[in-house]
């Protein structure tokens, strides 16, 4: 195996519980996004576009869809002879196995994996954000600054600093203090959860942290503070550009809507920085003589007979005649029959909305709420749905029967 300059480790085991119904059956990085993609496409495409060809993907929660999605890695050009993409679930030894105890533990359990590439540096990524970033520039910065660790930071509005891990830096961009969700922040540079470590340094810290029973084995809580305390050279790498956490239903919905309009901040049409994804073989979508589509993104294989406005529609969806879809996210294979009204909703994969039904959130304090429908539901004709529904056993009237 060739020696690698940099190996990326992508933490994809998060449960994403604030995404509610969307992550009941899927790991968060596998959640669909933007009419074609899944969240994990963004860090994986960034890796390929940055020239990083070796990526370990750490999975544990609902790994199945994620594993089969990643497959050989060829979608992201990561089916390589030397390197490529590697799925790393928690390992079962003869005496058993258990979930990763924290982000740092996940890396620590895979020290052997990283060692085989004998890399200079390790890039730690998460599967929680939508952004385009050239990691090779950050790597250059890390090397130029002779840093032990480099943390990517982004300026956030001052009134939101209390939601982030804030880095206080000196004028050489050296990190002098790290505050998790400070009440009164001294800076508005938020950690993006993207780290580059010199592998020999990180390796030592991981092995020291592992036996510590008081540690939560987390980069932000344990490793970074300890490195700061021991006066290691920690640098903050400033990133400018679109970067959106999709950790809640609201922010997920908003990040999708951000793609609409004439000059979205996140440009998916730039052929120099493609976001790669699986490409299931589907024909071009068809918009009929009665279709009216405005300000929307439409995936392949869709049949649009009705109206679609300010919406993101994934592949193989059907929108019947007279149906109106507004401000919504329609996942793959959703079937919307004639004269249905959908407003500010997220419809899960393969769900059917029968004719004349209305799916639209209530107004609460002047703001319309987002309605989320689980995958594989059937909303009966002329029903009115005002609240999110998932396919729990209690509510299985609306769910397709499992085929036996």
């Amino acid at each position: 195996m060739h020696k690698k300059e940099c190996v990326a480790m992508l933490l994809a085991g998060g449960q994403g519980s604030r995404l509610g119904i969307l992550t009941q059956k899927l790991a968060k990085p596998a959640v669909p996004f933007g009419g074609k993609y899944r969240i994990i496409d963004f860090p994986l495409s960034n890796c390929n576009n940055s020239g990083i060809d070796t990526v370990g993907v750490l999975t544990q929660y609902k790994p199945f869809a994620l594993n089969s999605y990643i497959g050989l890695g060829s979608a992201w050009d990561l089916d390589r002879m030397n390197g490529g993409v590697f799925i790393l679930p928690p390992f079962v030894k003869e005496q058993g196995g258990e979930w990763y105890k924290g982000t740092a533990d996940a890396i620590c359990q895979n020290i052997n994996f990283i060692d085989q590439f004998n890399p200079e540096t390790v890039l730690i990524l998460s599967g929680d954000h939508i952004y385009k970033m050239d990691y090779s520039l950050m790597l250059e910065f890390h090397q130029r600054k002779k840093a032990d660790a480099t943390i990517a930071v982004i300026e956030v509005p001052w009134d939101e600093t209390s939601r982030f891990g804030i880095m206080n830096t000196d004028k050489e961009q050296r990190v002098i203090e790290f505050e998790e969700k400070p009440r009164e922040a001294k800076s508005n540079l938020a950690s993006m959860g993207i780290y580059i470590f010199s592998w020999s340094v990180l390796r030592k810290y991981l092995l020291e942290d592992e036996p510590n029973v008081d540690s939560s084995h987390d980069f932000g809580h344990d490793i970074i503070p300890k490195m700061l305390a021991e006066d290691r050279n920690l640098m903050a790498y400033p990133f400018k550009g679109y970067w959106k956490d999709v950790g809640t239903i609201e922010s997920y919905w908003q990040a999708n809507m951000d793609l609409l309009g004439e000059q979205p901040e996140l440009n998916l049409y730039d052929s120099k920085w493609r976001i790669y994804s699986a490409n299931p073989p589907r024909p071009p979508h068809y918009a009929s003589a009665t279709a009216k589509v405005k300000n929307s993104v439409i995936g392949e294989g869709c049949l649009i007979l009705g109206e679609v406005e300010n919406s993101i529609v994934f592949r193989d969806a059907y929108v019947g005649q007279g149906a109106k879809v507004k401000n919504s996210i329609i996942m793959p294979q959703v079937h919307i029959e004639d004269n249905v009204v959908i407003d500010k909703a997220i419809l899960g994969r393969n769900t059917v909305v029968k004719q004349g039904a209305v799916v639209a959130g209530k107004n609460v304090m002047g703001q319309q709420e987002i309605v989320v429908l689980d995958a594989d539901m059937i909303i009966p004709p002329h029903a009115t749905v005002e609240e999110s529904i998932s396919c729990s056993p209690a509510e299985d009237d609306f769910c397709k029967r499992e085929e036996s």
Partner: protein, 372 residues
């Protein structure tokens, strides 16, 4: 594990497709918003579990080889079997006259000998359909035919039957006669020029053809032998488009705007594979108006599109109006442009406010890469 191999024999006369086939074979003419014609027959073979496909190419094959590459996009990049591109016999002596497709088959008999499969389906690339060769093979075995010829009931009042062969069938489906279509209209049994037979028989037919100094596979190897062999016709009931002229290309493109045909052609027996691009989904803005059209991924539509097909990566600027037209890959239609009955080949750029109009029966073709 089907005991059937595929041969795609690219011997179609391309002089009737004009500009579209000037620098490419018929097989690699773009069709239906993201495909090349060959994708249909090749996908049908793959969806029928055929894992060994030989493509016999005659000329102008650069764009085809670019398209197929290793065969990976059709899951045919394999060590055992897979996709074989078999070039013409005359590559080494370019000055020698090429006498017909049988020569090419004959010079590649080794490939046939080395293949493990007992049966072979041989087809061209100018027929667009979605069919399952497994059903045809079952039919072939059940009838005990030596050759099974696929046919469709075609409306020969349109262009489809021009230069095609038609079948006269006996009561049990046996083929009594094959003849070249004569201009007589109405529904007829049009040959799809696809045949299933045992590989051994194909080898014999090719050898005999060569020994007799004959060089046209369908005319001399098949039609001449219809009375000597047990030949049955298999009626393919689904949609069939035969692309034999610019007019039929345009007409069949417009037929795809029927959801019924769209569903059948792209989903019925299996999906149609093609070379993968990583385009984002199509995007509409507030001013966009799209009706009765096929819009591929990577399109960015700001203007008005009606009864048209936009291939992958087409950009339609504000105020542009595209009607009854086909815009191939990466077309860039400037602001205020008006197009009607136009076929833009790949990478065409129509600058602001230009107006171009053909006739529905005589579409205007804009050459690949042109800036107007």
């Amino acid at each position: 594990m089907i005991d059937l191999m595929g041969i795609i024999n690219l011997n179609e006369a391309d002089e009737y497709l004009g500009e579209l086939s000037r620098s490419r074979s018929i097989a690699s003419i773009p069709f239906a918003g993201r495909y090349r014609l060959i994708d249909f027959v090749l996908s049908n073979m793959v969806n029928s579990e055929i894992s060994n496909v030989g493509i016999f190419i005659q000329h102008k094959y650069r764009s085809l080889v670019d398209h197929l590459r290793s065969g990976k996009d059709w899951d045919l990049a394999r060590k055992r079997d897979g996709l074989f591109v078999l070039p013409p016999a005359y590559t080494k002596t370019p000055m020698q006259m090429h006498r017909g497709d049988v020569e090419n088959l004959y010079s590649n008999l080794d490939y046939l000998y080395q293949s493990r499969q007992k049966y072979v389906v041989i087809a061209g690339a100018n027929i667009v359909s979605n069919l399952d060769y497994r059903e045809v093979l079952d039919f072939h075995k059940n009838t005990g035919a030596e050759i099974t010829a696929l046919y469709t009931k075609a409306n020969c009042s349109t262009h489809d039957c021009l230069r095609a062969n038609t079948l006269e069938l006996g009561p049990e489906g046996q083929v009594l006669e094959v003849r070249e279509f004569r201009d007589s209209g109405g529904y007829q049994n049009m040959s799809m020029d696809m045949f299933i037979m045992e590989k051994e028989l194909l080898i014999d037919l090719v050898k005999n053809c060569i020994n007799n100094g004959d060089y046209d596979f369908v005319k001399h190897c098949i039609i001449k032998n219809v009375n000597k062999l047990k030949v049955y016709g298999f009626h393919h009931q689904g949609y069939v488009a035969r692309i034999n002229s610019l007019q039929s290309y345009f007409q069949h493109s417009m037929e795809l705007l029927s959801p019924h045909i769209w569903k059948e052609l792209f989903f019925k027996s299996g999906l149609i594979y093609t070379k993968v691009k990583d385009e984002p989904p199509a995007k509409y803005i507030n001013e966009t108006e799209v009706t009765n059209s096929l819009i591929a991924s990577g399109c960015y539509v700001e203007g008005k599109v009606e009864n048209s097909i936009l291939f992958r990566g087409v950009k339609v600027h504000k105020g542009a109006y595209i009607k009854n037209s086909v815009i191939m890959q990466k077309g860039n239609i400037g602001p205020g442009v008006i197009l009607e009955n136009v076929i833009c080949d790949k990478d065409v750029h129509i600058t602001a406010n230009k107006q171009l109009k053909g006739e529905f029966t005589y579409p205007l073709v804009i050459k690949k890469g042109r800036v107007i």
